[in-house]
């Protein structure tokens, strides 16, 4: 039986949640690493471990109890509800760019979106290399085009951290390729997750990170199901010759 580790899967209507459910349906044992304990009961059959993946000590402890990893999906991320303190706080108001964010914001956002991927990949690598496997990281269209000043619900540090995730993906692809471990990435545009709904509830239409819908050629936001299906495909043999690649999933709003 294959084992998958999915971070950031406990929140309802999140991409990670759907990935965990689908990998389980594929017959894998799924281990979830997340801080959001209230969501654990929504993942029956998964082994849920409370873990702040932006803390290398906690990641090390969590992986002490994991004996096998075939698949690692790093879904933890975002610009808010990412630390123990703000886990249930809702979206932060106002635009936070690089020039007006606090150093605390920078560290917390980089920690959740980039450092966490490094810690989890480093902890999982020896187990992945044993038999080969797949890593999928989640970047963002923000890494491609930045967050326009004025937009709420996302942040400048987030765009930078997510660009780092693309670079990390390439580097790890080189380091793990000879062991039969593929490392890929998806860069979602605007996806109708629980988090987007929270932003839409407090910002005027078009003022959220998604901008006006008419800027999306497909004329709609993406679904959690579509995005999760893509991530699961990147864990499967359908993509056996892909590594180091970022697939943009954004309704044609940005073609890299």
């Amino acid at each position: 039986m294959k084992t998958a580790v999915v971070t950031g899967a406990a929140k309802p209507e999140s991409i990670g949640h759907e990935v965990a459910v689908r990998l389980q349906k594929e017959g894998m044992q799924v281990v979830v690493l997340d801080l959001y304990e209230e969501g654990f009961s929504s993942l029956p059959g998964c082994r849920c471990v409370k873990c702040d993946v932006s803390d290398p000590g906690e990641v090390g402890k969590a992986f002490d109890s994991i004996k096998q990893v075939d698949v690692l999906v790093n879904c933890v991320g975002g610009s808010w509800e990412i630390t123990r303190d703000d886990l249930r706080a809702g979206p932060r108001r106002g635009f936070r760019g690089l020039t007006n964010c606090s150093l605390e914001d920078w560290n917390a956002i980089r920690g959740a979106n980039l450092d966490s991927v490094f810690y989890c990949c480093r902890a999982a690598a020896p187990l992945l290399k044993k038999q080969g496997g797949a890593v999928v990281n989640v970047s963002s269209v923000a890494a491609r085009k930045g967050i326009p000043p004025g937009a709420e619900g996302s942040s400048g540090p987030y765009a930078v951290a997510k660009a780092g995730v693309m670079g990390l993906t390439r580097q790890l692809a080189l380091e793990l390729g000879s062991a039969g471990v593929r490392v890929n990435c998806v860069a979602p545009g605007v996806i109708a997750s629980g988090r987007l709904k929270k932003v839409q509830a407090i910002t005027p239409q078009g003022a959220g990170p998604e901008g006006p819908l008419k800027q999306i050629p497909m004329g709609r936001v993406g679904t959690v199901a579509e995005t999760a299906a893509l991530i699961v495909a990147l864990c499967s043999d359908d993509t056996s010759y892909l590594t180091g690649v970022t697939i943009d999933v954004n309704g044609a709003s940005y073609a890299a």
Partner: protein, 249 residues
């Protein structure tokens, strides 16, 4: 099966990647119309550089859910010489005359344009569809082997893909490209590319992070992915399938 009840058109389906794509989409349950420039099995014969041929093809196919434009290659076939030999060595700029330039652009780029122009209106009317074009690592990274005509044509495919993604997005149609790296198709194997000596072959494979050449099935899997739920919101993308040899932009 996940593509049950769907209809696909696969061009360049006689061998290699096209044949693998055809087989895979059929295995996933789709009804596949397969075409190539030469007669082989039950293929529909069509010269895709000729708009009249494509109109005849469309009369047989109707409205496909998936159009997979695999047809192409570094050497352009003709209706008389449908399987021309691959070049033995690297093609340099001065080797390429205007006729070869025009033929390779036509076989790789004009063909995709004509097929899209023929089938997109039908997909638009139905407000759904997926188009998958074939670029190449030669366009992404450049190539010291295949010639500037092929690389330029495949670069054109990437631009055509992005532009059609914008144009057809409002109609619920996704348009993407796959850029294969070194795929060991029967024709490539025959040509001896990457196999000038055992040492050269080993060094060549060592340079690929996944340490192997690709197989046609590796590409077919990505096509199947783009035709499935996983491809629903992916559009305008060029997906590099090369074992990590080149990561794209």
């Amino acid at each position: 099966m996940r593509l049950e009840g769907r209809k696909a058109l696969v061009t360049g389906a006689a061998s290699g990647i096209g044949a693998a794509v055809r087989k895979r989409l059929q295995a996933d349950g789709a009804q596949v119309f397969a075409t190539d420039i030469h007669q082989s099995g039950d293929l529909i014969v069509a010269d895709l550089t000729d708009a009249d041929h494509i109109e005849e093809l469309a009369a047989k196919v109707g409205t496909p859910d998936f159009v997979i434009n695999v047809a192409g290659g570094p050497v352009a076939p003709t209706r008389k010489n449908t399987l021309p030999d691959m070049p033995k060595g690297a093609l340099v700029l001065e080797d390429i005359d205007e006729l070869q330039w025009a033929a390779v652009i036509a076989a790789n780029l004009t063909s995709a344009f004509l097929v899209c122009r023929q089938f997109a209106p039908r997909m638009k009317a139905r407000k759904s569809g997926r188009i998958v074009n074939f670029a190449s690592i030669a366009a992404r990274r450049g190539s010291d082997r295949v010639g500037v005509h092929y690389a330029a044509a495949k670069g054109g495919i990437i631009a055509l893909t992005k532009t059609l993604a914008l144009e057809l997005g409002p109609f619920g149609i996704t348009v993407n490209a796959i850029a294969p790296g070194f795929i060991a198709t029967p024709r490539i194997e025959q040509s001896g590319w990457g196999r000038s000596s055992p040492q050269a072959h080993r060094a060549f494979l060592e340079a690929i992070p996944l340490r192997r050449a690709g197989k046609p099935d590796d590409i077919a899997g990505v096509v199947a992915m783009l035709c499935s739920e996983a491809g629903g919101y992916v559009s305008g993308a060029t997906i590099d399938v090369n074992g990590g040899l080149y990561f794209g932009p």
